[in-house]
Subunit: 536 residues, 2 copies
């Protein structure tokens, strides 16, 4: 399929014109009940309320045209069917398929990529048996005790998604099961986690596709040393999630190994074994399957060409409207759910690492804006923190609210005739209206300009199914936006330069540690940087 | 003192001109060892390396001129000496002094505000006695057991700072002491925290200056109900931090009360009783005093007029250079220290709630940019997440790195001849250089444009003293920037509209709960919003 540059799509000119007279949310009748009713889309248990975006029917039609011209759904289907979308034409690049959706396609009678889905099923079956063995007492520690804690050792995509989802679903954890996470090469991270553990009843799952990630390998050594100091046999406590046949695929060093595949990028790997081992351990296999089912159903939703029926695509187009036509550089993701407190950090990676690019899939410099800066914290906490700037600052911040009608844990209390859950959701909806409408006042400090675009995603309850659907909603939104911007959302060349320079600095430090005298009198910038920082 | 608008200061025109030819960090010799040596400032154990900012001597001189013209240090002294800086001339406003520095001025022989400092000392002395009573066994639970856990119940300024600093200094916690936090009105937040507690050995400190914060009062009720269900007497487990004489200053309901004062804003209250009770509980009184000493010494540093000797002022001016003259909308704070993982969230509040304003201190609309969007996560984690966009995205993000030469907990390991701590710091410094210098390549995907401005703050070790200094460094930087922009950094009128609308929505829900029929046929936007979200 020939890709076209974003700037060459006919709809972009039309949308630029429409943006000059974007829907004014501050007019007295701008937010009518009729508008609230009509600007709503639903899928997989989620309702998307987008009347508080600066959109009218004409702009929506132009966004549909943009999606059609850029063939976004066709590209999505190419992705699902194994097209080599992780590439740059004419230049050295990863040249890989992009098949995280195949992990979820296990529910299809006719999966798009039968082989990849079969492999995913095989790993799931291995995991099911391993979890059964843990439950039945077949896999226990040397004292015949069950394992209570699973510590995931990984970084980036091997950490953020699994961590965010573990936290999100902690309310459903099996009795006596908990997950912990070690990511940072900062030795205090590992030390703090290890300090709180009963090592004898802990398993560690080391996650690295290549088996060569600096942080992960270093932390694995710290963990092995701690286990040995405690008189335990490391091999009996360590699991690996890694590429088949790679350096970590070694039965002599790990109790069990689960495989991840080249065609699943780290940031899209939550529904592969990268997330499944830990989520399966704390939630049980059935709940894990429900999570995958939610993701799968959202993947199927992504196949619809009408933006009003395709939630990920609609959110992608709204994001592009705000980013490229209204010109806003960031997007805040504000879940009104403490359980989702680390979900924005996961999306920060998934979105910014995917779409923080400046080069097209043909290797040309882009002349349009690509991925925004993604950030956010849960509400209502944020209302007492940074919302001041969102309401009255000099930067306009598009906001995505996420909320649920029911809580997870069943504990609640009525104060002043409403429950805490009602207060939580009422606050979210009030913020949505306040940002959109604004308010005039004789006192200039109490004026709110309004026209702060935002949308609300709301579902019944944050269950494993709903979490899977939410995850895939954002993953697919990100992919649609990357397709539209004609960038490769699946590589991460931007992380290389820092790695190269870090290696250079570490060689200087290693030489200093072993007292090798510096090679020459002339100091390099790298050496001087270390000196000024007091490291030499 | 007559305030002058930012746009009317002579230096702003000069700086606008200089920004057109801002220092190019990508030239081959741009980052010489000599530049690294000269662009360094130090105070209170911190070295600030700023050679990787797009600044030269001429721009620095113009920033000094800007600081002088805007009388920033004079305004800082007015603040410390009790000037009513929380006000808008000619309009209804809070009309308050801004005296968080008085909490730290306890080390001065001649405090700037003797009365406020005496009050701070009095509360500290009450706290010292209370902590002694806990240690000596005078204050125990009904079974004569000591208290092991202190749960802080508060939101915004009564949560973020104390939480960030507790986490930062957890390595120094007294044996058998831990802190937990409840903030969100989301009932799952409270339920999750309560589920992990031995209630009989837990104290709860409820923090609200006004004694009327919706979230905090609601969560206090949940806590009281849980204590009662466990057969405990709530009054024996609850402490209050609140305004003297306010609704929560009630000895019949709390085991002890500590006072906070109107002249200390929530987001600047970490070094008042708002943070001191919890930090004192986990760290002990001596460590708390060390933290205050670090903050005090940084406050004293803030009195110097030379920007090269005044770390908070220098960072303020660098921030203004990036924000107003180079035009960048955000600022990322990236600590290479897992212990500081929640410090960016605290600064997000402190900065964005202070300087996310659009009106001058004379009630006029600003015509210049004010506070940026603040966000960040710890490195090296971020390197495997969002750094792709920082290096190669279409938005330029000024970065502030924070690191330490030694770890806190003493556990480390050498892999490939370097320790984890060396790897951590080397990665931070490498990122600083990489962002500045960039790199060309024949492959366009491997090109790095460079000129990404950043600075590095580095100190020996994250101790209580160093944490206090870091906190005050940022607090004072934020105040200096607000002074320069001629805005009131100490109010938060922008949070009001959301509160008003939330109350409106909650009335509708309360009526629905009690089955009062709607007042009229015509549906309001608020009611329709609730209906579309499935809440009615």
């Amino acid at each position: 399929m020939p890709y076209r540059d974003f700037s060459l799509l006919g709809a972009t000119a039309k949308l630029s014109g429409l943006a000059q007279r974007a829907y004014d949310l501050t007019r007295p009748t701008a937010l009518s009940p009729a508008r609230l009713q009509s600007m709503k889309a639903s899928a997989c248990g989620f309702d998307l309320l987008y009347a508080t975006e600066r959109l009218d029917e004409e702009a929506l039609a132009a966004l549909q045209q943009l999606a059609d011209e850029a063939k976004l759904v066709e590209q999505f289907m190419v992705m699902k069917k194994g097209g080599v979308l992780n590439r740059i034409e004419g230049y050295a690049s990863e040249e890989r398929q992009v098949l995280h959706t195949a992990c979820r396609d296990i529910f299809s009678e006719q999966p798009h990529m039968p082989e990849a889905t079969a492999k995913a099923k095989k790993e799931l079956e291995k995991l099911r048996i391993f979890l059964d063995d843990l439950a039945s007492g077949k896999v226990v520690n040397r004292n015949k005790e069950s394992f209570t804690t699973l510590v995931q050792v990984g970084i980036g995509g091997s950490d953020l998604g699994p961590r965010a989802l573990s936290l999100a679903l902690q309310a459903y954890a099996l009795p006596g099961r908990e997950a912990r996470f070690i990511a940072n090469v900062d030795p205090d991270d590992t030390a703090a986690v290890l300090a709180g553990l009963d090592l004898s009843r802990s398993l560690f799952v080391v996650v690295s596709k290549s088996g060569t990630t600096l942080e992960t390998l270093t932390n694995e050594e710290l963990v092995r040393a701690a286990l040995a100091r405690a008189g335990l046999e490391p091999k009996e406590h360590l699991l690996a999630v890694t590429g088949e046949g790679g350096p970590m695929d070694d039965a002599s060093r790990y109790l069990a190994s689960f495989y991840m595949f080249d065609y699943i990028g780290g940031r899209y790997s939550v529904t592969s074994m990268v997330g499944a081992v830990t989520l399966g351990f704390i939630l049980g296999f059935e709940a894990l399957v429900e999570l995958l089912r939610g993701a799968w159903e959202m993947d199927v939703t992504g196949e619809k060409t009408d933006i009003r029926s395709n939630l990920p695509l609609l959110m992608a187009m709204i994001g592009i409207w705000n980013r490229n036509f209204l010109g806003y550089p960031t997007c805040a993701i504000l879940p009104y759910s403490q359980a989702l407190s680390r979900f924005p950090a996961h999306l920060q990676q998934c979105d910014m690492e995917s779409n923080g690019k400046s080069v097209t899939r043909q290797g040309k410099a882009v002349t349009w804006k690509t991925g925004p800066i993604i950030w956010g914290e849960p509400g209502t906490n944020g209302q007492h923190a940074f919302y001041q700037l969102i309401h009255q600052g000099t930067e306009i911040i598009p906001v995505e609210f996420i909320g649920f009608r029911r809580n997870q844990r069943g504990l609640d209390i009525k104060v002043s005739q409403t429950s805490s859950q009602q207060k939580l959701v009422a606050n979210m909806l009030a913020q949505s209206l306040a940002l959109a409408q604004g308010k005039d006042d004789v006192n200039p400090v109490r004026r709110f300009a309004g026209n702060r675009p935002n949308l609300v995603l709301v579902a019944e309850r944050l269950t494993p199914y709903q979490m899977g659907a939410l995850l895939a909603l954002y993953e697919n939104r990100i992919a649609f936006q990357g397709f539209c911007w004609n960038i490769n959302s699946f590589d991460q060349e931007g992380v290389q330069l820092g790695k190269v320079l870090a290696t250079k600095l570490l060689h200087i430090l290693a030489d200093a540690n072993t007292q090798i005298p510096p090679a020459s009198e002339a100091k390099s910038v790298e050496e001087e940087m270390l000196r000024q920082a007091g490291m030499l």
